[in-house]
Point group: C2
Chain length 394, copies 2
Amino acid sequence: MPFAASAGVADVLVALFTVLLAAKVGDELFKRIGQPALVGEILAGIVIGPSLLGLVEPDETLEVFAELGVVFLLFWVGLETRLSELRDVGGVAARVGALGVAVPFAGGYAAGQVLGESGATSVFLGAALVATSVGITSAVLLELGALASTAARTILGAAVLDDILAMVLLAVAVGVAQQGGVDLTSIGVVIVLAVGFVAFVALGGTRIVARWPDVFHAPKFSESPLLPAVILCLGLAAFAAQIGLAAIIGAFLAGMVVAESKDQHDFEEEVAPLYAFFPPFFFVYIGLEVDLGSFGDAGTILLLAGVTALAFATKFGAAWFAARSMGERDAVVVGLGMVPRGEVGIIVAGIGATAGVVDDDLFAVIVGMSILTTLAIPPLLRRALKTPGRNAPA
Amino acid sequence: MPFAASAGVADVLVALFTVLLAAKVGDELFKRIGQPALVGEILAGIVIGPSLLGLVEPDETLEVFAELGVVFLLFWVGLETRLSELRDVGGVAARVGALGVAVPFAGGYAAGQVLGESGATSVFLGAALVATSVGITSAVLLELGALASTAARTILGAAVLDDILAMVLLAVAVGVAQQGGVDLTSIGVVIVLAVGFVAFVALGGTRIVARWPDVFHAPKFSESPLLPAVILCLGLAAFAAQIGLAAIIGAFLAGMVVAESKDQHDFEEEVAPLYAFFPPFFFVYIGLEVDLGSFGDAGTILLLAGVTALAFATKFGAAWFAARSMGERDAVVVGLGMVPRGEVGIIVAGIGATAGVVDDDLFAVIVGMSILTTLAIPPLLRRALKTPGRNAPA
């Protein structure tokens, strides 16, 4: 109809309204029964999505809002993170990241071989089990006010390494699926770019801002330093995505850089509304992607149970083992914190399906595993964090 | 590449970054030379758009961000507006709205007839000259801190009526173009729905919130009342768009309703970051839609000059005449404030093109007129507001 910019946009407004309202109803219900709000938001997505009510379909516009949701989530997490704190946990975080990639990949690959899948499919199953969705864990840690704990820092440091390694593994998997082999040169380029970007921003960016602490006040276009910081966040997120890293790695680094400026506190207050507005789209979108209809037969359900157990055991075991020098309680927190696969598992499954080596059943199973690990962790992590430990949250 | 949700989303991040950065560079340059920032943002859109650099194409995702931009802009304006203040200027605003629709429509229709266009095309040209883009004027008034003046209230009240009448006229125009006639019943339904919605929200909504002033604090899902208010804003914007009104009318009414609650001031502080983030997409998008290539020949340029002069003269003259009881200075401010056609003229042109009664040349001319009235008004309005008058801004 007439003045609604266009019919498409009028419908998008309805979808955005429906998603935000559903997210907050789910949030409200879960808060009232004392459960993690984000689980309520994901379940709200399942309810309004194609599986049940069919009110909203996942489409590219909603995916953009979901992506900005996790971008602003990690920007916020970065704002509360100092490079020096990450450095303090560097050794353990590196072990957690490396072992937390190697063991699930080996487990997934072995499981594929045992199930009689092709080499390419087995590589994809391994890759799908690798990547942690640090967005989910961050949201739980934020909700519980535990982001400043040593365990949380370790998870964040490990997640950056995890993402770089997972990206390399996925590049290998795509190479195997498409050409039956791996182009070492192009993978070398990918590694150099990714590591160079992270190191340059984390080391160079924080140093520049530390020396020029009112850089975000310099422009006249904004009365507050918020917008220059948001532009930096979007720019680094976009760049990270273009070189094959997760956009959220760029956003997290941007947050860390901005945190070095003189008014970290004002930033947090100002980013809060963006942080309130966008992330619900991320959680609901995960729910929208669930297709309950795929789990009609016992065989698929059994496979889902097995893959989910494998995903949980390999990631938790590896991360817990690597972090055990931190004490039992913190090692459990780190182990649990690395388990959610969230949107990342779903993306890997989608790439495998496009490459023709992940069939419909396996696709549904990987998506289901991603959701289940995401839904299971918040309550477990909440319980683990309430256990007193050597390094209780500040 | 791998973990950037999808290749499409990675590219959208780049587009969002480019638009926001360009907007703020334009803003910065125009602030430094003492000109209205939003003109700088629109020109930035022309520069990065298909006409010049071709860095960004207007697409549906950007259109959604643009729409949210003007939605949050008018929500903000609504937050600063009280129903009682609109009531005080009601009589003048009604005259400005009614005359400001009738005269431009008559002028456009007559011009179409003089130029030898068909009846349907003439009706469309009239309709395209009608609708004021109150988003542009609001942004100028906000930038100059003049939103609380009587003239500003009059413009806002007139704009609501303007939008309802313009919607009806456009429905008539589409009817004439498609069936060669007008279905009075369906147009009656449209009018009843629109008037009923505006009256119900403006009168009922403000009364409910005035009686239950902490309604936005009731939900537990949010520590601040921002998100419940934003959900209301999106809901009313979506509803307005679905019944054929501008989404911004819903957003403006939502702002007025929320302003009746007990913490109007906190709201303004909290909405500020959303207001900083989204509206630049609206201004840049207007620039992105410009196609400088359409104005290659002298005939089109002449037509553009004529139509723009007509659009300016009829709207300014009618609104100024209707508002002259307010004193010369305020009547000039009201007259100028009603002139920008912005996105609304572009939308009407698009609907006419789809209906097959607006050809490529006329489409380009209407879009050009919309942009020119939009670019011309901010400097003129700024000068007029600086003239002392009977009702100087508070």
